[in-house]
Assembly symmetry: D2
Homo-oligomer: 146 residues x 4
């Protein structure tokens, strides 16, 4: 999986002393943007040059351990599933210090054009996703479990 | 289901012109806080007086329609599932103007004491949840579908 | 001044147990949107129908008392200064329970057209601002003091 | 001044296509945390080991250029003013690509103990601030101008 490191900021915490639960979706967003960049394209260039947007159709997060202020974390991102009209990513958030698992999750996206209509993934996007790391089966299994 | 009305604020939107996808989890938080208040207790009093916290173990959101700046929305909240050690809530976010479904979702919580240890729900919390509206079967079915 | 009531949400707090300091700017945004609405127009309609935007050129906040989770607050908004090319608003945030002053502040905006160029305020906006409540001198004085 | 690089994330943008105006205060928070770290201590260790907190008494931001999604920015932080009971920092946010000035600002903090009472800066904090870079006169002048 692709990894990207960052820290928990003061504004991310809540009065329980942990990162607020919506913050994790932001980390997932950072994870997928940086994974795409590592493959050679920025998500911005996909929007600007290919005219494609990837709005989220579903998001899910399993919270395992609270993340504290200033914790150095790493979000790991990989491709979970794809078709001509959608793509989903799987994520793990781990604490750099000891590898402890903070959270895991997934997001499912549709390809949409500038007018807000569903579209097939443009060729450039298809080629990009061909090179994406695949989510390990254990992660997909953990996400499938209810 | 219990309903609470609010508006999409400028800071909630992103450059796609819709409410950013993590914002929906904030709406769910507002929904469950206001549902508890409508039952006679604030979530703050549960933390302060009963010494119980309800950290989130899992969150899920299905996005159906984008919400635009200044849209008047209503978050509807109900009890989905409970046991002695956990509780889950189900949510629907609808547009006030025409009742259009913006999103649906769920959050699952554990009961935790001040030291961060799992605990059984205090009696006061049990009695509160006894009075909570129950999620309609169609909503639970829509959430169970993958 | 125009008043609008709201509550501090869990996601607004930080680990100090108070609303995070950037949240206050969000409250100011809510205050000016609701003040405009009370005058008969929504800020959305100004953007959509008059083609004018009011990006912020300067923001300032003086923090007096921490706001806690679930506190019922009221943001009070009034016009501070105007010219043909700019407008500024002044704000007070008070606790509903006892009127305690949480914060005061100001934001200064320029009129900008859809292409991102400065413009003179359209007639409809001028007429709207003609009806806006004026900031009391004590508030302006408190904001002027350094 | 101390510099720290980061990117504008999707969740930071609003429907105008720029980073929302409260986000800049978050960048300032990141700037001062990373400046302290570069001097040898984390802000977390100041809270945990020295029992001191630095709540914000005043914040100010002058917005010069909008920051777009995925822009690589750098927040520059320096000491602006200090006394035994307070400290203020000055900030500049620049675009990495061309050095364009996005925003400048300041925050003023008081030293507070765990009980929420004002205190004199502990010796460890004094020594840390002794080593902080000083804000250049031009920045202080730009911030003083009204």
């Amino acid at each position: 999986m692709h990894g990207f490191s960052f820290r928990v900021r003061y504004g991310d915490t809540d009065q329980m002393g942990w990162a607020y639960y919506a913050t994790h979706l932001r980390w997932f967003e950072i994870g997928r943007a940086e994974m795409l960049r590592s493959l050679g394209r920025s998500y911005r260039s996909l929007e600007d040059e290919d005219g494609v947007r990837l709005p989220v159709r579903e998001a899910r997060c399993l919270y395992r351990l609270g993340a504290r202020y200033d914790d150095a974390l790493r979000v790991e991102t990989a491709l979970a599933e794809r078709s001509r009209v959608m793509v989903s990513f799987a994520y793990r958030v781990v604490r750099e210090e000891d590898g402890a698992l903070i959270a895991l999750g997934s997001t499912e996206h549709v390809f949409m054009n500038r007018d807000g209509r569903p579209m097939r993934a443009p060729r450039g996007v298809e080629e990009l996703l061909d090179r994406a790391p695949l989510a390990p089966p254990e992660l997909l299994a953990a996400l499938a479990r209810r």
